[in-house]
């Protein structure tokens, strides 16, 4: 996992809220190193208990479908002893003071870390507030606080039968000292945690009233759409906008250095205007870049040693003495996020201020980027965050914000910049292409005595969070390639950072493991086959140090009917991983048609994600992750030709659809460990399970994603 500082001290302060309520301010870990060492209290989450008894939570994590807006309030409601319905979430306020990390501005929702970060501090906050409310009631009644109880938003005093609502105590509680020590509930006393509480954001999402970034309509807003240089790094050379300007509803053409935007009354006119533009581009230095060239460069990079990410024992010696050697190379492609809500950002640039509306996973980054693009101090930029119509890492980036500000600087009044799907796919920032070179040595029993892995690709961290890239390594690029669950007495892993020319890279759902788990779990399968052993049994034998991994592997295999016969060209494949703090095993069952078409029929998942806060959310996230990863395995590929992304829309960048969706079974292992991440692990685990199942069905080992159906033709 990337930056997992769950044990880091968390701060909490309490005081009076405006209007007479109780306000707790706390600092939640956001997955970056930089707040370490901060000696000032910089709260980023707030809990307000208002005089009417309502409980308002303002927090830095955003809802992008993963259920955070439900699961996080559950933590507070549990300890505070209130109904979940009493907890109301407020969107990020248009007040940078609450949200900006003054050190870096890297607050973000990603890396499956929201629940992992919030688990302790939010329960502590709930328990602290509860204790202060009890103390206030005890003082009012002049009784011992230990004789009081809490239930459903009230403090009770059973001996006298008295009760008082939290709202009526909030002002007094604000004057109570913050208790030094707070006992949290024992898991056996949980009333809410562990139950399938209903999503709080669902009703507005089924009746059309939910407001995503793309839905905002500040008064007088105009709609713009844009075309960016088809080659990354290119520029506008010449433009004829006469025809575009003549279109009804088109108000203005904004020419930037490397993009042109059409500003109109509505998107229909803007798109029509865009189509009418005649632009000549100067392609710049990347005019000839192709994916094949990038892959060749990466392949070459794996021929020379790179920084060592992990070393155990002596691989060279073990390889030299091995009875059998297995070697393989693997490749995974560039991928776009293709969030259902296309990229968009609404901006109003005024003389001395700037207002931004969007849905973002990294709102402080948005503010910093907008300020820079607008040439304003950060405190003059107000950001309104909204629901996210799919993030998957794309909305951790602020490229679209910078674009929108550049355009808005030329427009009088607010302008909503909406990207066409074609721009969204052709100017995404992409999951890096990776090339991996592996070798293993087996002893005469087929056991792995040596494991060597050298891989090359882009470091997203090096750009996104430069301090995270140290000594040629970063924790994201290597997660899933090192610290494996298996006993491997001699292991050597190197990472060679190579930044591809002419294509920006970014985090993509399941980040580093999206690549590493495919490679690791394919290769372990490959050596099991070389040893002529069963893929599950082979893994089991290597799990002495990983009892939780063993449990999920065995559970998934049993539930999937591992070993039971299947018809011709139908196969089962397994994968096992420990990433994002969660143990997961998948067994995928696939059918390969004679023409090579692959259908994933069924996926059985066993998961140990520690304490389950909301089991329905866990299931939903696994279903989601499996579909997302299956799309990538079967279809996902962004290619460059002459510096241009070749895919344009959902016809050339396909998504898995209803008729192709596999049956999915999820089996959750009970655990009292702290919660692990859930948003991403389903995705990284499914890709190798599918590839391994294809091997079982056809005997063909696919070492390059996505699935090449031509290679599977019979």
């Amino acid at each position: 996992m990337m930056f997992d500082h769950l044990s880091r001290r968390s701060f909490l302060q309490a005081g009076a809220a405006a209007g007479g309520g109780l306000m707790l301010s706390l600092n939640l870990p956001l997955g970056n190193d930089e707040t370490e060492g901060a000696d000032t209290f910089t709260p980023n989450a707030f809990i307000r208990i208002e005089r009417d008894g309502s409980i308002v939570l303002i927090m830095p994590y955003v809802e992008m479908g993963q259920g955070t807006y439900t699961a996080i309030p559950m933590l507070i409601a549990e300890e505070l002893e209130v109904d979940l319905k009493q907890v109301r979430l407020e969107h990020a306020p248009p007040n940078e003071k609450f949200y900006v990390n003054p050190l870096l501005g890297v607050q973000a929702t990603g890396n499956s870390n929201a629940m992992r970060g919030a688990w302790q501090p939010l329960r502590q906050a709930g328990a602290t507030a509860r204790a202060m409310l009890v103390a206030a009631a005890a003082k009012k009644w002049n009784v011992d606080s230990t004789s009081c109880r809490t239930q459903n938003g009230e403090v009770l005093h059973p001996p006298s039968g008295r009760s008082i609502k939290y709202g009526a105590l909030a002002a007094d509680a604000a004057r109570t000292a913050v208790p030094e020590k707070i006992a949290l509930k024992q898991p056996r006393d949980f009333k809410l945690i562990g139950t399938p509480a209903k999503r709080l954001d669902a009703p507005a999402k089924v009746d059309g009233t939910a407001i995503y970034g793309i839905d905002v309509r500040p008064p007088g807003v105009k709609i713009a759409t844009l075309v960016q240089s088809p080659v990354f790094g290119g520029r506008v050379k010449k433009m004829d906008d006469a025809a575009a300007k003549a279109i009804k509803g088109v108000r203005q053409i904004v020419r930037l250095d490397d993009a042109v935007a059409v500003v109109a009354d509505h998107m229909g006119a803007a798109k029509k205007g865009l189509a009418a533009l005649v632009i000549e581009w100067e392609d710049g230095p990347h005019a000839k870049v192709s994916t094949n060239d990038i892959a060749s460069e990466l392949e070459k990079a794996t021929l020379n040693a790179g920084p060592v990410a992990q070393n155990v024992g002596d691989v060279a010696k073990a390889l030299a003495g091995a009875a059998t050697k297995v070697e393989a190379t693997y490749q995974v492609p560039f991928l776009a996020h293709a969030t259902m809500e296309p990229m968009n950002c609404t901006v109003h640039v005024r003389k001395d201020s700037c207002e931004v509306w969007l849905g973002s996973q990294a709102i402080a980054r948005v503010q910093t980027s907008a300020a820079k693009a607008a040439g304003l101090p950060r405190d003059k930029v107000v950001v309104h965050n909204h629901l996210i119509g799919g993030g998957f890492g794309r909305r951790l980036e602020a490229d679209g914000v910078i674009r929108a500000v550049e355009i808005a600087k030329n427009v009088d009044g607010p302008v909503k910049v909406v990207w066409t799907r074609e721009e969204d796919i052709q100017h995404a920032m992409y999951r890096p292409y990776w090339f991996d070179r592996l070798s293993a040595g087996l002893d005469d029993q087929g056991r792995p005595v040596a494991w060597k892995n050298r891989f090359a690709g882009s470091s997203v961290i090096a750009r996104w969070l430069p301090p995270g890239f140290k000594d040629g390594l970063d924790p994201d690029s290597t997660e899933g390639a090192i610290d494996l669950v298996y006993n491997l007495p001699n292991l050597h892993v190197e990472y060679v950072r190579v930044e591809p020319p002419g294509i920006p890279t970014a985090f993509w759902r399941s980040v580093g493991p999206s690549h590493n788990v495919f490679v690791t779990e394919s290769f372990i399968d490959e050596i099991a086959a070389a040893a002529k052993q069963d893929a599950v049994a082979y893994r089991q034998a290597l799990l002495g140090k990983s009892p939780r991994a063993k449990v999920v592997l065995e559970l998934a295999a049993r539930k999937a009917g591992w070993g039971q016969p299947l018809s011709e060209r139908i196969g089962r494949g397994v994968s096992l991983q420990f990433v994002f703090g969660t143990y997961m095993a998948h067994v995928a069952e696939v059918e390969v048609a004679k023409n090579g078409a692959v259908r994933v029929r069924r996926v059985v998942c066993a998961v140990d994600c520690g304490t389950v806060v909301n089991p329905d959310t866990v299931r939903a996230q696994i279903q989601s992750g499996i579909i997302f990863g299956t799309t990538a395995a079967l279809y996902g590929e962004i290619t460059l030709k002459n510096g241009r992304v070749e895919q344009t829309n959902f016809d050339t960048y396909q998504m898995l659809r209803m008729n192709e969706a596999p049956e999915i079974e999820v089996h959750i292992v009970e655990s009292a460990e702290p919660p692990g991440g859930m948003g991403e692990c389903g995705t990284s685990a499914i890709v190798p399970a599918i590839a391994n199942a294809i091997f079982a069905a056809t005997g063909k080992r696919l070492r390059k994603m996505p699935v090449d159906t031509a290679a599977l033709k019979q």
Binding site: M64, G65, Q66, G67, P196, K198, R199, D201, A202, A204, K205, V206, D207, G208, T209, A210, I214, D215, R217, I223, I247, K248, G249, D265, H266, M267, G268, A269, K271, A338, T339, M340, E341, P342, L387, I388, G389, G390, G391, V418, T420, R421, D616, A620, Q623, S624, G625, I626, I627, F628, N649, F650, D651, M655, R657, M658, N659, A661, E663, I664
Partner: protein
Amino acid sequence: MAFAINVNGITHSVDVDGDTPLLWVLRDVLGMTGTKFGCGMALCGACTVHVDDAPTRACITPVDSIGKSQITTIEAIGKTAAGAKIQKAWLDREVVQCGYCQSGQIMSATALLTSKPHPTDADIDDAMSGNICRCGTYLRIREAIKQAASS
């Protein structure tokens, strides 16, 4: 020129080119943002509305093709019997995640249920495979349609 279109029982006059897709008339001219933009090419179904009960991709439907047809959008689908059943089933089954595609999913599902009150799995595949969900809520959509059909 100005077009008179009937959306959810109310007639609106909109002054746009006749080839303007209905999607933008709804979203940007009338301010009804429940109907979503996903692809602009009828590939994803996010913009699905009903034109006289037929599920229709608003992103490729020119406003001048509508004439006197009645348009129904997500904002009003709950007023129909099938729409209300579908919305309830969506909540009961906790279908939504990011939720962005769900307006379109619900419009497609409601049209299915209206034309086929007891759809088979194959019917569901046929009616729903034009709607992409990037969060992968397909399994729950299928369950929810079945629940709505049996309620």
